[in-house]
């Protein structure tokens, strides 16, 4: 009774409070349990969560545009896409710089493919422009070289732009030994005098040494550097007079002459490559897809398109995905329904037969699992085609005229038949295991209470088998929503699913962003349906067994 008078916290044997002692013991237990499941947890995270996260990321990711054309997209910010004018000349000059670098890095065609999803023709526009952009700035290079032979040699430029300590290291670098090339360092203070040329040279040097893996001492400088140099010199920078570097004299001499240089009209030069460059469509697409993240893929997934004026519906003859989503859901429902109709009696028979016979029949039910999906589907082709087994039999029986054989394949019927067969075990198994747990005495009780066979089944047996139907339906429905091999083979044009388009975009068009957006929508639809199911039927009402 002394405990009841004790007012402080309960103490464990070692004097710590009982609570903290208990917590410690429990924590150790939890930690041990966590360590036990850690490999599985990591496996699930890596193989399940990570791909889904990656997919969701891809469906909005759009960094390629601003990464490839950083200067252009930045300058486009001021351009009014609704105006009738094409962007200002500065934008074209920025485009020249971006395209030049992208072409050297072989990234321009990749961007072309990306934007071609949004505007037909961009792919070849970029491919074509890439080759010609390299020549565009040569006007400046030629004039510099005509001015002084000094400008012809890459080594001279290295000496001008490179920091002295880098130059020493580069000179000491022995190409035959395995050491890495000393990393280029810009002469300090030069970027204030020659800002554009310094930047261009820096990009050139880093690319040559890095991605290209070439010896900078022997490389031939890009034409881009000369056009940048022209821009810098024509502004007559203040620091030029005081510049102390190899080639500073040549630089000053050039600065005195650049005013007489022939100049390049980049707008005209791009127009010469392709008149599409001066069309607003191309620029609108570039501007629309400038942000690093986009909802464009999602809009495409619901038959809309992202335009400068906001989302718009696509033309009637281009609408596809909403129709496919609806068709996928509808057909999955039909397949689930036919699986219930066929699977319920089979499961009932299995559950009510003696164990020995039931096991034998169960093997027959599971047999489809042991055959490859492709073989099963192809077998249905042989069965269902117009010269196939079923039609031949019907004609032979005289039920169908030879010239009006039934079209059972290459349409929705084919998909429904083949997929019902393939997914049937997923319905039968949960149904069977639930029915196994319903004692026969319930039916007897119902009959003894005066119920007919049908009433006893419908009011007593059936409600108790509903959890099995629920589990089977969820399995079949979700599996069928994601099927694409079977619909592809037997579905023709009216029996294909949204997954077929996803597969197409993954493997053929390489439009992974759109595929990811379609997949994300499908995932959302499935989760939504699951939520609705939980609200209406209750997820507790799903039993896979026992």
């Amino acid at each position: 009774m002394s405990d009841s008078t004790h007012t402080g916290p309960m103490l464990a044997a070692d004097g710590t409070t009982l609570k903290s002692s208990l917590n410690r013991a429990l924590r150790r237990q939890k930690l041990r349990a966590l360590m036990l499941i850690a490999p599985l947890l990591i496996f699930v995270l890596v193989t399940f969560i990570a791909p889904i996260a990656d997919m969701l990321f891809r469906s909005v990711e759009n960094q390629i545009v601003s990464d490839t054309l950083p200067r252009t997209t930045q300058m486009l910010g001021d351009w009014d896409a609704d105006a009738a004018d094409i962007p200002a000349p500065q934008v074209f000059e920025a485009l020249y710089v971006d395209m030049f670098i992208a072409t050297e890095r072989k990234l321009h065609t990749r961007l072309g493919s990306r934007l071609n999803y949004e505007l037909t023709g961009v792919s070849s526009l970029f491919r074509k422009s890439g080759r010609k952009v390299e020549d565009m700035g040569e006007v400046y290079q030629d004039q510099f070289e005509d001015l002084d032979k000094f400008w012809k040699k890459g080594a001279n430029l290295n000496a001008l732009f490179g920091a002295p300590d880098w130059q020493a290291a580069q000179a000491a670098w022995d190409t035959s030994d395995k050491k890495a090339q000393p990393k280029f360092k810009l002469r300090s203070g030069l970027e204030t005098v020659l800002p554009q040329a310094s930047e261009a040279f820096d990009v050139y040097a880093r690319f040559t040494q890095g991605e290209d893996g070439k010896n900078l001492s022997k490389a031939k400088p890009w034409a881009l550097i000369y056009s940048a140099l022209y821009n810098d010199l024509v502004a007559q920078p203040a620091g030029l007079a005081a510049l102390d570097a190899p080639g500073a004299d040549e630089l000053r001499a050039a600065a005195a002459r650049v005013g007489d240089f022939d100049t390049v009209d980049f707008t005209a030069a791009f127009k010469k490559i392709d008149k599409d460059w001066v069309s607003q469509d191309v620029w609108r697409v570039i501007k629309t897809y400038s942000p690093r993240f986009t909802n464009g893929y999602f809009l495409n997934s619901i038959d809309m398109k992202k335009t400068a004026d906001g989302p718009q519906m696509r033309a009637e003859n281009e609408q596809l995905y909403i129709k496919l989503f609806i068709r996928t859901l509808f057909m999955s429902l039909v397949i689930t329904g036919s699986c219930i109709l066929l699977g319920y009696p089979v499961a009932w028979i299995l559950a009510n037969l003696p164990a020995k016979t039931a096991n034998l029949l169960m093997i027959l039910v599971l047999l489809p699992f042991w055959t490859s999906l492709l073989v099963r589907t192809s077998a249905w082709k042989v069965m269902l085609q117009q010269q196939g087994v079923i039609n031949d039999t019907l004609v032979w029986l005289g039920l169908v005229a030879d010239d009006s054989r039934l079209a059972l394949i290459n349409n929705q019927t084919g998909t429904i038949i083949a997929m019902t067969h393939i997914l049937l075990p997923f319905m039968i198994l949960p149904l069977f295991s639930v029915m196994k747990t319903i004692p026969p005495s319930y039916l007897r009780a119902a009959k003894s209470l005066g119920a007919t066979n049908w009433t006893a089944f419908w009011r007593v047996y059936f409600p108790q088998s509903v959890p099995g139907i629920g589990a089977g339906s969820i399995l079949v429905f979700i599996l069928s929503i994601g099927y694409y091999i079977t619909p592809e083979i037997v579905g023709g044009t009216t029996g294909t699913f949204i997954s077929n388009r996803i597969a197409y975009h993954i493997s053929s068009s390489l439009n992974w962003g759109l595929a990811a957006a379609l997949g994300a929508i499908l995932l959302a639809v499935v989760l939504g349906l699951y939520w609705a199911y939980d609200r209406i039927v209750g997820i507790d009402n799903v039993k896979l067994g026992g």
Binding site: R110, G112, S113, N317, Q385, T493, L510
Partner: protein
């Protein structure tokens, strides 16, 4: 102690395996008779000559997607990949295939003609070395067309004379061109017309006249099977498939050489290989695309060699013993009215027209 030993042993094994891998080369192709012809004509002689062990991977159908995935993962396991020209262009655009200079990295013709001239216009991409010329053409059941076997590609639109189903590939490429040709567009103008939305609609409208009679195929083996089963009266497929259906399986099928679409299949080398592997892949390609090797492949399969200099060297079929030249899509008799596939056009319009085509199919 024991753990250390195990680790050491494992490391040693891995290193040893690494050296073993150095002598392996993974070549990706289409599988089936086509891979077999490559093995006989290229792989076996190359292995005999260099000792390199060639591993065949039959993934060409998914090559584009897989190469992109490998590239993103930074672990390209393929050395040489066989793809169709349009895929090669896409891979090149995506930076997934390396550029190959024909004149410096390929063997010249026996008479010294540089490779770029020998291949000529067939070098449609900087990354692509063509290997064969194939054509997509039509086969028809000789027993189902009555006394007037078709002579023109437009027979596919003539359901009056040739009732029954016809099989077409489930994609716009080729079908759109044929539709316009049979709608009265001159061959030279087909792509100009197809560039416009009206032209695309015109092609779809023409296809709509036979929409109910078409079985759409997606695998190359489909049409031969459909013809053999009598499911279709005519259908498009690759000429090599029809050759084996007619000459090897002796089915009552004949080939229609009209407005068949010339296309190319060939090699690319994935971007991002190590210098060592790149060098070996280039060495293989130089060997496998020389004049004699390309002519050799025609002994096993009825596709035309991509080099002009190989054509005179085409001999007899290795097992059937029949003269292969008349079965080549490049044979003058067969190539009287061919249609040249416009790669540039489809690289631009594929996504757009495919979307419209699929929307049309789903209607």
């Amino acid at each position: 102690m024991k753990l250390t030993k195990t680790l050491l042993a494992t490391t040693a094994l891995t290193v040893a395996a690494g050296f073993a891998v150095a002598e392996d080369m993974t070549i990706v192709s289409w599988g089936g008779a086509y891979s077999a012809s490559q093995k006989a004509a290229y792989h076996d002689p190359y292995s005999a000559k260099t000792g390199v062990n060639i591993i065949n991977d039959e993934s060409s159908a998914e090559a584009v997607a897989k190469l992109r995935a490998m590239n993103e993962a930074g672990n390209v396991t393929w050395d040489v990949v066989d793809v169709v020209a349009s895929d090669a262009m896409r891979l090149c655009d995506e930076g997934l295939a390396m550029e190959i200079d024909a004149d410096t990295q390929l063997a010249p013709a026996p008479d010294g003609t540089p490779a770029s001239e020998d291949f000529g216009e067939l070098l449609v991409s900087d990354c692509f070395i063509p290997q064969i010329v194939y054509s997509t053409t039509f086969g028809y059941r000789t027993d189902l067309v009555g006394s007037t076997p078709p002579t023109s590609v437009c027979a596919i639109f003539d359901t009056q004379t040739y009732p029954g189903k016809r099989s077409l590939e489930k994609r716009p490429i080729n079908n759109m061109e044929w539709a316009l040709l049979c709608d009265g567009v001159a061959k030279a103008d087909v792509y100009d017309v197809l560039e416009t939305a009206e032209g695309q609609q015109r092609a779809l409208d023409k296809l709509a006249t036979i929409k109910d009679d078409v079985v759409w195929w997606s695998a190359g083996a489909d049409t031969p099977q459909l013809l053999a089963d009598g499911e279709v009266v005519m259908g498009s497929t690759y000429n090599g498939r029809l050759f084996s259906l007619i000459e090897e399986q002796k089915q009552p099928v004949a080939m229609l050489w009209d407005a068949q679409v010339f296309d190319l299949d060939g090699w690319i080398i994935p971007a991002g290989l190590s210098d060592e592997r790149k060098a070996r892949a280039l060495d293989y390609i130089m060997f496998a695309t020389d004049t004699q090797r390309l002519a050799d492949q025609a002994k096993y399969i009825s596709y035309g060699p991509a080099r002009a200099s190989s054509a005179p060297l085409v001999g007899k079929h290795a097992t059937l013993g029949i003269d292969m030249a008349p079965h080549m899509p490049t044979d003058p008799e067969n190539a009287k009215n061919t249609f040249l596939y416009n790669y540039e056009f489809w690289a631009d319009y594929r996504d757009d027209i495919d979307a419209k085509f699929q929307a049309w199919l789903a209607q």
